[in-house]
Symmetry: C2
Subunit: 156 residues, 2 copies
DNA sequence: ATTCTTATTGCAAGTGAGTTGCAACATGGA
DNA sequence: TCCATGTTGCAACTCACTTGCAATAAGAAT
């Protein structure tokens, strides 16, 4: 099981939201040194980050930054709907992955053979969400769709 | 946060697959006393079961049945594609929920206010899966879609 | 600039889901 | 009935994540 291809740009880069730090400040959240580092790393991330990776990257900017602060910052961002939490089919254990929320939702494909993670946007996805909201009168705040299977490269 | 309504029948009851025990036997899996109990409970379940609930129910039939066996049986069923693993938006901590896989996929709606879990089937969901398989040449083995939000009852 | 309130941090300890090694045991085919 | 091999229970473990608390820092008020 390898890793995802380097050349595909994350949806969070193509469809970015407003600056995360500004977004937090405008909501009256205290902008600490630690949060500034973490939020910046999340926003610029080249891939879906787990807590340990995010912590390691953060420590290279402030070696005293504690892992607990990473968890607490991610909770904060989740609570404000600014990051999405992913399972990526729990391909690498029980941990979770995080990405800045984009202007348009997308879903994730995880190859069970090589471990590649792909993103997919579709108007059918948007239509499906609309159908749920209408037919069930359910107000969607967060959606998570993931598919596990075999990618094109692994099928040959 | 309450619990899901009693009157909605689980998709696993409406669209059941072949008997889980028979399915395992036909695949050359040893049918132990413990597996028979667990598989029967999963098949007849009135709601999405977490490990602890499944274990408690199993112990009322065999008080020596160990929790590790529950985990190992669920892994086995997952490996054979006979159960689906759900997060239900991790509304109650990090644990997972399980249900027998049905003939037709469905998605889950989790009310962030009252904790109700609803199921939803849609041809748009099927179309979306088809689009992924075609456009990405990705062979889907398992899909998981969950939405968190506010249910009709909580919206009033 | 200085003070002050209060949210946030780091640390250490704890929780809880899920895993693993191994000896005893049960399954199902010979 | 016997036997080879897969499965179980137990205890100990790992790992992701949480919590209590004293020290600290943000940022609003002065
Ligand atoms: Mn999960
Ligand atoms: Mn993504
Ligand atoms: Zn692959
Ligand atoms: Zn509700």
């Amino acid at each position: 099981m390898g890793t995802q291809p380097k050349h595909t740009m994350l949806a969070a880069q193509r469809n970015p939201r407003r600056n995360l730090a500004e977004e937090l400040i405008s909501r009256g959240v205290r902008m600490t040194h630690q949060r500034r580092i973490l939020v910046d790393l999340i926003q610029r991330a080249d891939r879906h980050l787990d807590v340990l990776t995010l912590w390691r990257r953060a420590r290279s900017r402030d070696s005293t930054l504690n892992k607990v602060t990473v968890y607490r910052t991610l909770s904060l961002l989740k609570k404000h709907g600014l990051v999405d939490e992913l399972d990526l089919m729990h391909l690498e254990g029980e941990k979770h992955f995080y990405e800045a929320r984009t202007t348009r939702d997308h879903l994730h494909l995880a190859c069970l053979k090589c471990g590649a993670i792909m993103e997919f946007e579709s108007s059918l996805f948007e239509k499906l969400k609309g159908q749920i909201e209408r037919e069930r009168r359910f107000s969607i705040q967060v959606v998570r769709m993931e598919a596990g299977g075999i990618c094109a490269a692994c099928r040959g």
